[in-house]
């Protein structure tokens, strides 16, 4: 009697575990099915609702990897990073998960975490190590840490068709960013004080310079006309003079700011280029 009961209990336990495994794999297949149908937000909801308490580590890894990937494909970067970082080192796609987590972090501006995550990886082959160097070089450029770029750039062999072009472009970005001349806001203000709009021209915003020159010079002409014909105390002179002063000072102030705006635009343009050239090799290498 006892023996039979033990066997029955064992059978039921085995059946229960099997059923749970079957349920989990079915959920993954369902999420994959949704992703294949381009219903990614739905897939994320399904994966989010999986109860992880009863799962084995391997199952959790599959779940987090899939969730990370789904979130990445719809640009839910916080969720993607969180999920990719939960994947354990025993999982076959651990390196891929870490690379993509680092890329998402770099994209979000969390550059220190991105480089730390990549540096901690123990990579099996030279191509992957070179890919890591490319990523770290990109992150160094994003941080404007030119000293940190050089050791990574030394690892470039320019021999892999997957990222040879990106390595060359990274070198180019380094040269451009390092060679970017920092213009003086003070000088821009002085130029605009001398000739309205010249400070903006100096800052690299030529059209804005012309657009600033025309109203200021028109108001100057109107003020001068009012002064010449009606005198200093006339309402006409005071009105136009006030307007001219506002526009003149506004242009000087705008010129000092335009230096900073131009610099931010330049950096943003290069940040986009760097992130693009970090992303393409990742997709090509891992897919």
């Amino acid at each position: 009697m006892k023996k039979v009961l033990v066997w029955l209990l064992l059978f039921l336990s085995f059946y229960g575990v099997r059923a749970q495994q079957f349920e989990f794999s079915k959920e993954l297949r369902f999420a994959q099915y949704l992703q294949d149908k381009e219903a990614v937000p739905e897939a994320i909801r399904v994966l989010d609702q999986v109860d992880t308490t009863m799962l084995s580590q391997a199952q959790k890894d599959s779940l987090f990897y899939m969730l990370g990937w789904a979130a990445y494909s719809v640009r839910q970067l916080d969720k993607s990073i969180g999920s990719f970082l939960k994947v354990s080192p025993d999982f076959s796609k651990y390196d891929k998960s870490r690379f993509f987590a680092a890329y998402c972090q770099a994209f979000q501006g969390r550059r220190d975490s991105a480089s730390e995550g990549l540096q901690q990886l123990t990579l099996p082959d030279s191509t992957m190590r070179e890919l890591r160097s490319l990523q770290l070089a990109g992150i160094a450029l994003l941080k404007r840490d030119y000293k940190a770029f050089l050791p990574q750039q030394l690892q470039f062999t320019y021999s892999s068709y997957i990222f040879e072009k990106e390595e060359r472009r990274m070198q180019l970005y380094y040269d451009k960013l390092k060679g970017f001349s920092h213009k003086s806001p003070l000088l821009a203000g002085v130029y605009s004080a001398l000739v309205p709009g010249l400070g903006k021209w100096y800052a690299g915003k030529k059209k804005q310079g012309i657009a600033a020159f025309l109203p200021v010079i028109s108001l100057a002409a109107l003020t001068y006309e009012a002064y010449r014909k009606d005198g200093v105390k006339s309402a006409r002179f005071i009105g136009f003079g006030t307007l001219f002063t506002i526009f003149y000072i506004g242009d000087i102030w705008g010129s000092t700011l335009s230096v900073k705006i131009r610099r931010n635009e330049f950096y943003k343009e290069y940040d986009n280029k760097i992130l693009f050239d970090m992303h393409i090799p990742l997709r090509n290498f891992f897919n």
């Binding site: 029955l8 039921l12 099915y33 739905e42 909801r45 028109s218 002409a221 109107l222 006309e225």
Partner: protein, 283 residues
């Protein structure tokens, strides 16, 4: 005793696992419907999709297809509904069900604003469901889509055919005797170019027209007076600049106003047609 006890346990276990699977299948549908009823359309659409993923029973699949379509419509995701239904068109369902899928696809296409595609779907009907009479709503969609595209002649023909087919006890007023007369954008621009404010008058906005005339006249007046008083710089930089800016702006504004006028007229006409057609359907 022991054997009987064990056998009873095993039998109960087997019965409950089989019944459990049946209940689970049934559960998905109940769950999907209750989520829909609760207004949780996103979750309901996932539950319906799960039925499609798990079930190979055509009747359950059809319930799920229409359930998911309802959810997507409720969420305003008409384009997704359109693509979703398109994927099920080639499935070997009974023709009546395929016809319903086809109709739902046309409806979602209309709601999504793809009017040319609505006409294409309506035209495809006889080839895809030859033996099946189209639902009258399909004719309504065709008329409304033609209206939206401004193809009044074809819309009128389809409308007359529809009214004749419905044969109502009291014939409704023929709306197509007075199709909206849309105004010309080019004419409005041309008018504003040569007569300040005329384009705005033409677009049916007299208030804006008077404002435009006043500002442009003020600009010219200021320029002339300043010139006479030898304020040449003011004449040019204030009077002429004011006139020029408002003149060019007036031309562009006339164009915008005519477009708004035409859109409003079309919407009002479409609304009247829609109301009449729906009341005809309900008779």
């Amino acid at each position: 005793m022991t054997i009987r006890y064990c056998l009873t346990c095993i039998s109960l276990f087997v019965i409950f696992s089989i019944r459990g699977q049946d209940v689970r299948r049934q559960d998905f549908l109940v769950q999907a419907d209750s989520l829909y009823q609760a207004g949780r359309y996103f979750d309901a659409s996932i539950a319906y999709e799960r039925i499609l993923f798990e079930s190979s029973d055509p009747s359950r699949q059809l319930i799920a297809i229409f359930g998911k379509t309802r959810c997507l419509k409720q969420e305003g995701r008409y384009d997704q509904a359109m693509t979703f239904l398109e994927n099920w068109q080639a499935y070997p369902f009974p023709d009546s069900s395929l016809a319903e899928i086809h109709y739902q696809q046309a409806l979602c296409t209309y709601l999504g604003g793809h009017f040319e595609n609505v006409l294409s779907l309506v035209d495809r009907w006889p080839y895809e469901h030859g033996g099946h009479r189209p639902t009258p709503m399909l004719d309504v969609l065709k008329i409304l889509a033609l209206n939206e595209l401004g193809r009044w002649k074809e819309a009128g023909d389809a409308y007359h055919a529809f009214v004749t087919q419905r044969a109502p006890a009291v014939m409704p007023a023929d709306l197509y005797l007075r199709v909206p007369r849309l105004k010309s954008v080019e004419k409005a621009q041309w008018l504003s170019q040569f007569i300040p404010g005329a384009g705005q008058f033409y677009a049916g906005r007299p208030g804006e027209a008077i404002f435009s005339i006043l500002v442009q006249t003020a600009g010219i007046w200021f320029a002339v007076v300043s010139f006479e008083q030898h304020y040449y710089v003011s004449a040019w930089l204030i009077g002429a600049a004011l006139f020029g800016a408002f003149h060019m702006g007036g031309v562009r504004r006339a164009e915008v106003l005519v477009r708004q006028y035409n859109r409003k007229k079309m919407l009002a006409f479409n609304e009247a047609v829609r109301e009449q057609l729906v009341s005809l359907l309900q008779q």
